[in-house]
């Protein structure tokens, strides 16, 4: 979902950049408060994993591919604010080193993927965790559903930006329908990958999973690590 330069006009791109800068500033501050000695290098790993996973495009429809966004995965593992920082870091590296995602469009991409997708998805995860029983299976399911929704949420960010300053004059309704449709499909892949990865980490080090707080029975007992 990396927006190249040119799709969205300068004013909207700048506005998104300002919002993103503010959002990342908040995330950096809040992330620093929650970091244990172990979670700092773990967050670095999560960022590296998101980078690698984003290279793995998979087919979703004829002539169309998708790839992991990774925001909810990061948020469930290291907390929502560190998750935001992880995704933003990946986006910055992609734009600067790999010419993936425009430079003036970086604010748009950070807003859509690192902020809207990650925080919106995490809100769904937190809500589901409150509703569902506190078991590792429910947490995994919640992560999968939340991740699946995070992708169309991020896509809606693009649609709004396109409405405000999009180039090419495409009809908004068509863009909305097309973006939502394909990104719901990509979200299915995102949900499956996220759920599998969360389950894997829960089975070996549940204590390191931020989103696993308060699970009963303690996943550590299930994994036999006590």
């Amino acid at each position: 979902m990396h927006i190249p330069d040119g799709f969205i006009d300068a004013g909207t791109s700048l506005g998104a950049g300002a919002v993103s800068a503010g959002g990342i500033g908040v995330a950096l501050r809040k992330a620093s408060r929650g970091l244990s000695e172990e979670q700092a290098p773990l967050a670095g790993l999560v960022a590296a994993f998101v980078f690698a996973a984003q290279m793995l495009n998979f087919p979703v429809a004829a002539g169309t591919s998708g790839h992991l966004l990774g925001g909810v995965l990061a948020a469930v593992l290291v907390g929502p604010w560190a998750g935001v920082v992880c995704v933003a870091l990946v986006l910055g590296i992609q734009a600067l080193l790999f010419a993936d995602g425009g430079l003036t469009a970086l604010g748009l991409n950070v807003l859509n993927m690192a902020l809207l997708g990650t925080l919106g998805g995490y809100a769904v995860f937190a809500g589901l965790r409150r509703l569902l029983p506190a078991t590792p299976t429910s947490a995994t399911t919640a992560a999968g559903i939340a991740a699946g929704l995070s992708v169309p949420i991020a896509a809606l960010g693009f649609v709004v930006e396109y409405a405000l300053g999009g180039a090419g004059g495409a009809p908004l309704g068509a863009v909305l329908g097309a973006m939502t449709g394909v990104h719901v499909l990509i979200g299915i892949g995102e949900g499956v990958i996220t759920a599998l990865t969360v389950r894997a980490v829960l089975s070996v080090r549940p204590d390191l999973v931020h989103g696993a707080a308060g699970l009963r029975p303690p996943a550590a007992v299930v994994a036999g690590t006590r």
């Binding site: 590296a48 980078f51 998979f58 180039a167």
Partner: protein, 108 residues
Amino acid sequence: MRRTLALIGGGLLVAIGLAVFVSPWADPDPDGLERVAETQGFAETARDHDLEDGPLADYGVRAIGEGRLSTSLAGLVGTLVTFGIGVGLFGILRRRRGQADMRDHAST
């Protein structure tokens, strides 16, 4: 902490493995946004990237041309760079939290 470092090492190997061995086989079709741009007619509004002549642009190592090895190497570099910057950044964030805590305690 040692167990955690072992997990992190293992996780990094998984990430590197994906970037090096799986990424060359990734689906080359345009992603969702690109496809929508094509079908809705605004794909041509995309401008060339300012850094498209960079050594790693488009996930390939320019010096060795295109192809699977190029993609693998680019993936390896990107994963390691992200890991290095990430660990450094979160390490700095942790240290600043320690300083903020000390300031809070000093003022009480």
